[in-house]
């Protein structure tokens, strides 16, 4: 019969990972503090002039200033809007293309090969083309972001579908699933762990492409704030913006993708048994 031991051991392991997650956070915090101390020590040793290497306190103060006078939040707003549009297009288009490539042999041989080939191109190399096609505007930036992240998502979706256990296809066909229902209810969910990994990778590519593009374009955003810092020889501002970029990237990765990935891996029965 049903044993309640199952359920209780499951919830205990959940609590255990919560403790471990906390421990991870504490270790990270201690590490960052140590890093700041070393940084401070180097600054105090006066190897470099302060205007080239400002102290962590100065940089932190600059972050706070930026937050208070709203330059940083505004830049984040512009940047986030671009990545939301660009990355959103990538996810929708990438999954659709990945499914199509996995489904149709002809596409696999043509488009599939193209996707593998294009992945060799760093996304920023699309920038000159984007400029010529769209001019100096947001469309060009979003184009670069899409091309930066699209291919990773296409590839992951295709791989995910190729790795769906054959028994799932068998079961679905046996239960009478056909065409669209089969893809929507069985194939895509089965491939989801791969797709999420692809989306995570795609996100980091999109983020990098966007920063690179914003550095070069004269348009409001975090990358532009960096560029402004450079123009005014303001190392503290450059570093402050870098800290913000790192922080945002970490938050999205840890609070978003890593959690989602963990949840899906557990539910899909892929989580490691080693704990």
């Amino acid at each position: 019969m049903a044993s309640p031991a199952n359920a209780s051991s499951a919830s205990r392991s959940k609590r255990l990972t919560l403790v471990q997650r906390w421990r991870g956070g504490i270790v990270a915090l201690v590490f960052v503090t140590l890093l700041a101390l070393v940084w401070e020590a180097i600054v105090r040793a006066d190897f470099w002039p302060q205007y080239l290497l400002p102290s962590p306190a100065t940089v932190a103060a600059r972050v706070l200033d930026g937050l208070r006078d709203f330059t940083i939040p505004r830049a984040i707003g512009y940047t986030m809007r671009r990545i939301a549009i660009g990355y959103g297009i990538s996810v929708v288009l990438g999954i659709a293309l990945g499914v199509a490539i996995a489904r149709f042999h002809l596409l696999e041989q043509s488009l599939g090969t193209l996707v593998s080939g294009l992945q060799a191109l760093p996304s920023i190399t699309w920038l000159p083309l984007a400029l010529l096609w769209f001019g100096l505007n947001d469309t060009a930036i979003i184009f670069v972001v899409v091309l930066g992240s699209l291919l990773a998502i296409v590839q992951a979706t295709r791989d995910g579908i190729h790795n769906v256990p054959p028994l799932y296809f068998r079961t679905a066909r046996n239960l009478g699933a056909s065409g669209l229902a089969m893809y929507w209810r069985v194939v895509l969910p089965a491939a989801l762990p791969y797709i999420i990994t692809g989306m995570k990778l795609g996100w980091s590519f999109a983020w990098r492409s966007l920063m690179a593009a914003e550095l070069i374009f004269f348009t409001p955003g975090l990358g532009h704030l960096l560029e402004v810092g450079r123009e005014f020889n303001d190392v503290a501002q450059v570093m402050a913006v870098m800290v913000v970029i790192v922080f945002l990237g970490l938050v999205v990765d840890k609070a978003g993708f890593s959690r989602l990935e963990q949840m899906v891996r557990t539910r899909w029965g892929l989580a490691g048994m080693s704990e």
Partner: protein, 284 residues
Amino acid sequence: MNFRLRPQEPPSAASAAPTPAPPKLSFSSVTKGFDGGRGWTPALEDFNLDIQEGEFVCIVGPSGCGKTTALNLAAGFVRPDSGAVLVDGAPIARPGPDRTVVFQEHALFPWLTARQNVQLALEFAGKKKKEQEIVSRFWLRLVHLEKFQNAYVHELSGGMKQRVQLARSFAINPRVLLMDEPFAALDALTREVLYGEFQQILMGTRQTVLFITHNTQEAAILADRVVVMGGAHPGTIKAEFRVDLPRPRSFESPGVAEIAGKTLALLKHEPALLDAEGANGESR
């Protein structure tokens, strides 16, 4: 509603009575082979087997004799090279929910809960949301999983997973239920409990079943008719006989051990026992 239990009657009654209707499932001189390293090798050759409505047929045989091949032919996963596989007299063209398969394991979708797994099968069958819910609740209660309806697959034990598969298969009310060693991965105690529950449902539904197993005791407990296969490339039917013991049966039921012993002897191909049993069995 398709899930209402029919009144109980002895399982063998229908098959014993002379019925003019075609067999529920019929293999008619079926040959099926595969291209392997040594060219085409037959897995089944001139294979004949009829299963009547409401009958529970167990195929027992050594590994590699073509049991799964026979089941896959009935499921429509593979097509015969020659001969025909018929359900209600009509040839089988493709997999379909009228011939539901209960697999040995890993056939539930892990992103769904127990109940959602059952509901999905009903959704594929075109049932409305409300009916999906009612029917899946009904069957999960019948396999004693009402408390685990909302558990995800990774939270279920092996026995519970097979119960969900049973519920899913019965819920869509197939013409024939196809089962390929569904309890082989479970321990003896869990199996015994499942035999009991499974037979209770069978006595109510009179579901037609083709069941494959290595386990002679399992065959003796569950079958109306045991089909013993042997050999390989191709495998053949060595003997078949009826099991007319009262239900529900368990390991301890009188007669079960004898039937299991007889099956084992037939499997091992002991000529002396074969001759002795030949009179009341239908040895070939």
